[in-house]
């Protein structure tokens, strides 16, 4: 016998049009994959908001820890050579 729950928590990602990034829309509860997908459709796509949906069990998502932000993200801030504006181009060169 199982006990009463509100089923599992799933996170929902929607693509608004073909080619667009999948963006987090919110969450739903469901006991299995197909229910999660259908619940996501009925909850987050009532106004034609999407062309594609991903659902992911919330407990399968690994999130970075805000305490690690300085070691995770700061080191990338001084790598200016990764940006095209770093480079000096000959004045007359076109389409580069």
């Amino acid at each position: 016998m199982t006990t009463d729950t509100q089923l599992e928590l799933w996170e929902v990602f929607m693509q608004s049009k073909p080619g667009a990034n999948y963006i987090h829309a919110g969450s739903v509860h469901a006991s299995d994959k197909s229910m999660a997908l259908q619940n996501a459709r009925d909850t987050y796509s009532r106004r034609g908001e999407g062309t594609s949906i991903w659902v992911v069990p919330a407990n399968a998502i690994v999130a970075s820890n805000p305490d690690d932000n300085d070691l995770f993200f700061d080191p990338a801030n001084d790598k200016v050579y990764r940006h095209p504006t770093f480079y000096v181009m000959p004045k007359d060169a076109k389409a580069i």
Binding site: M1, T2, T3, D4, T5, Q6, L7, L9, A25, G26, S27, V28, H29, S31, D32, M35, T43, R46, R47, A63, S64, N65, P66, D67
Partner: protein, 316 residues
């Protein structure tokens, strides 16, 4: 030992308040003071429960909606409210509390929902009045909450505000149609106006001078505008809309204040407000009993869904 813990707590608070001051939004994994978490859980869950309990008074009229169009609109509207409840439960869950716990708090009376839904929906005009006045008042509040400091709450509010935009209009359309209709319809509309006006003003909560929870809520940018500010915003735009369709505001003391550019309203009956909050509104008991009954009736379905999943997992 105790001293050291205190400093950790203090450090969290200092960093947190620095972020708030910068206008950064707070995300689920960020360290936050306990008071902030507790305030948010209380506020978001109350908000979620309001959306869900708010489905009841309106769904009372679904089967009696007078046209196919009216029925579609009403159903879609109530469905949205269910969706809003769902988004908000989701936002509350990011704070470490489950939907089951939230529902349990509602059933035990620990969590509250908006007082407005303890009033009965007597005629079809009430459906108009609810959309126009109740959703209208809610929107004023919700627009302000789009900039609330907690990220998941703020994002839920943005989505909700987008969807709310038709709710007030559909209600106002019903009222406008009835005011352009037969004498009976006009009387029905004015009667609904008379009953829903004051409870709608009460939705913004006590006057600023006597509001118990607002101290930290402002400092931590959970709340961005005061109760009275929001109430005035609502009155200012609603009075004009009422005039356009010929409805009278049931407040003999209502008058325009040249100096500050706002309407001044008459005295709100706070005795009634507290009476309803204390559980003695016309429908408090009915709303809670319904919610509990539905929850209990759904138990076997949820259990079966879980049981089926477990069976399938064992098979694989």
């Amino acid at each position: 030992m105790e001293n050291k813990e205190q400093t950790v707590e203090e450090e969290i608070l200092i960093n947190f308040e620095k972020k708030i001051e910068n206008g950064d939004s707070i995300e689920p994994k960020d360290k936050m003071p306990d008071g902030y978490r507790r305030h948010l859980i209380r506020q978001i869950s109350q908000h979620a429960h309001s959306e869900v309990i708010g489905m009841q008074p309106e769904s009372n009229w679904i089967t009696r909606a007078p046209t196919l169009r009216a029925k579609q609109i009403l159903l879609a509207k109530i469905q949205d409210e269910g969706g809003h409840g769902l988004y908000l439960y989701g936002a509350a869950e990011t704070l470490g509390i489950s939907r089951s716990e939230l529902i349990e708090q509602l059933h035990t009376g620990k969590a509250k929902y908006s007082n407005i839904f303890n009033y009965p929906v007597l005629t079809w005009a009430d459906i108009g009045a609810i959309g126009w006045l109740v959703d209208g008042a809610a929107i004023v509040n919700q627009v302000s909450l789009q900039r609330t400091s907690y990220g998941p709450y703020s994002r839920a509010m943005v989505r909700i505000c987008k969807e709310e935009s038709f709710h007030q209009r559909q209600g106002y359309e019903i009222m406008a149609k009835m005011m352009a209709g037969t004498k009976e319809q006009q009387e029905m509309a004015q009667d609904a106006m008379n009953r829903w006006w004051w409870p709608s003003l009460m939705m913004f909560g006590p006057h600023d001078s006597s509001s118990p929870h607002s101290g930290n809520a402002f400092k931590w940018k959970i709340k961005r505008h005061s109760n009275d500010e929001l109430r005035h915003k609502f009155i200012d735009k609603t009075v004009q809309q009422a005039q356009v369709i010929g409805l009278k505001i049931p407040d003999k003391d209502l008058k325009w204040n040249e100096k500050n550019g706002h309407y001044e309203h008459g005295a709100i009956n706070w005795y009634e407000f507290h009476k309803v909050i204390a559980g003695n509104g016309p429908c408090n008991k009915q709303r809670m009993e319904h919610h509990i009954k539905v929850h209990n009736e759904g138990k076997w379905v949820r259990e079966a869904a879980e049981a089926h999943r477990l069976k399938k997992e064992r098979q694989n």
